[in-house]
Symmetry: C2
Amino acid sequence: MKTRIGIFGYGNLGRGVEAAIKQNSDMELVAVFSRRNPDSVKINTDGVKVYSCDDIEKFTDKIDVLILCGGSATDLPVQTPEMAQMFNVIDSFDTHAKIPEHFDAVNEKAEKSGKVAIISVGWDPGMFSLNRLYAGAILPEGKDYTFWGKGVSQGHSDAIRRIDGVVDAKQYTIPVESALDAVRSGSEPSLTTRQKHTRECFVVIEDGADKERIEKEIVTMPNYFADYDTTVHFISKEELEKEHSAIPHGGFVIRSGKTNGGKNSHIIEYSLKLDSNPEFTASVLLCYARAAHRMNKEGMKGCKSVLDGPPSYLSTKSGEELRRELL
Amino acid sequence: MKTRIGIFGYGNLGRGVEAAIKQNSDMELVAVFSRRNPDSVKINTDGVKVYSCDDIEKFTDKIDVLILCGGSATDLPVQTPEMAQMFNVIDSFDTHAKIPEHFDAVNEKAEKSGKVAIISVGWDPGMFSLNRLYAGAILPEGKDYTFWGKGVSQGHSDAIRRIDGVVDAKQYTIPVESALDAVRSGSEPSLTTRQKHTRECFVVIEDGADKERIEKEIVTMPNYFADYDTTVHFISKEELEKEHSAIPHGGFVIRSGKTNGGKNSHIIEYSLKLDSNPEFTASVLLCYARAAHRMNKEGMKGCKSVLDGPPSYLSTKSGEELRRELL
């Protein structure tokens, strides 16, 4: 019996989930839900239909887990609690500061409906959070470091696009190699924002727009760029499309800690290098859909995160197979 | 109420657990058990006594979790099932091929006694196994690589010491940097034993012993060295003690996988760089002692591994704190 998946929202992330389902033979795509006119949405799975979000209630008996692929700013705070009234749900809510509030809202609904909701799934929050948990528990005396990149920051790219005279832009967040090396040495350095990451911007401007002004507006932009060493490259629309259309990302979670009264140092490092941020995130979401389905079948309910639930529930393999093959 | 810990076996690992307890304010060392004459064993915690292993039965009401610090060859296959009849137990059983058999033996006893036993805890098996599980579940189409080192292999050092004319020896297992780079490139290379690791030996010999013969015996030794590029250095006893008395180790678990019909590559890498292998392993054992105690208080029983049980149980923090601080 396959786990029947519904995809709610068909952007980059939704397409990533659809692709991931094809890699997991215990999973089956049942329906895609979109706010657009369903007839206008073409998907990549034969025999599966696109429905309007308004029709979702008809699917309560047909879907085991609904994967919410909307954005954290306005979609998920509304959709996740609402859908948890009817379905086991997974979301990738990533506004770190608002996670406790989101958790409470979702938990209330999922406790009532008897469903399992796993929120903030992906890599940060998600696998990075999990690695911070493990490393911090093992080495209680130590320091955590998180570096992001090299990768595209959608928020920073958007911020550049809002500048007058800018047609399009891509921004890469890049970890500083010497800062990574300092952390790996075990010296537990204190690092400023500027010392940890640089920002590199590829910008397409309107004909005759003032490069000097635009560059200055970028590098001095508060919160986004002012605290970083930022490089700006003006390029053509064609070059942007040819060289910068991918959505790579990644990063590093490093814990440096000591044992035996400070005598010995240890470094735990987890890193990701991703060609496609949404496809990887989608692959994580699908693993947790498997776990949510299993947890709910066992009678669990309420809101969870990647920090809850047995790791073995992510796998298709039995406990016996896992012990034999992975331990 | 602290978790009351007993240490069973007081070698490097037992001393590591003792040191780790001092870093965790929710943990308390209650007793150390040794096969040696208790009066001859000096420990590093004031007010805590050393007892004979024969007295362990008197402690069933005084210890929440017993951490077994014996060896995998002959100690743990006997001790873990036996102790699981009386205590929640943690062991670091690391004979990979015999884990399923060990699991069954321990599970039978722990199911009967109603205790929780977590076996094969440490870093490999342990944190490495866990990372193989997570990475394999996220990227089902891909390939796993494990590299060990740079670190001291006790088994290989012992093998050298058994050669006629050898007084003492230390052997380092070293991952080959170019092999690591090839794996990180995402090309999913097939690597031979020789391509993945080299072995470096520091050997002290008797006066007048035949260096040429000893070196040949080392590099041609089947299973241990014949399949590797091995370097042998003859050094003085003083130099061995001065430069090679530490027990560092570490390694890398890397999964290289693809999404979206092979279109995009992703690399998940977990690595450890440890100044002291036994102290780090002990720190992992203690985390799982915390989890075992909590699991047992909630009514769970039987044999478990690091692949079971919620990650959050390793931490002293509440679910709310974890969500706020780590997600």
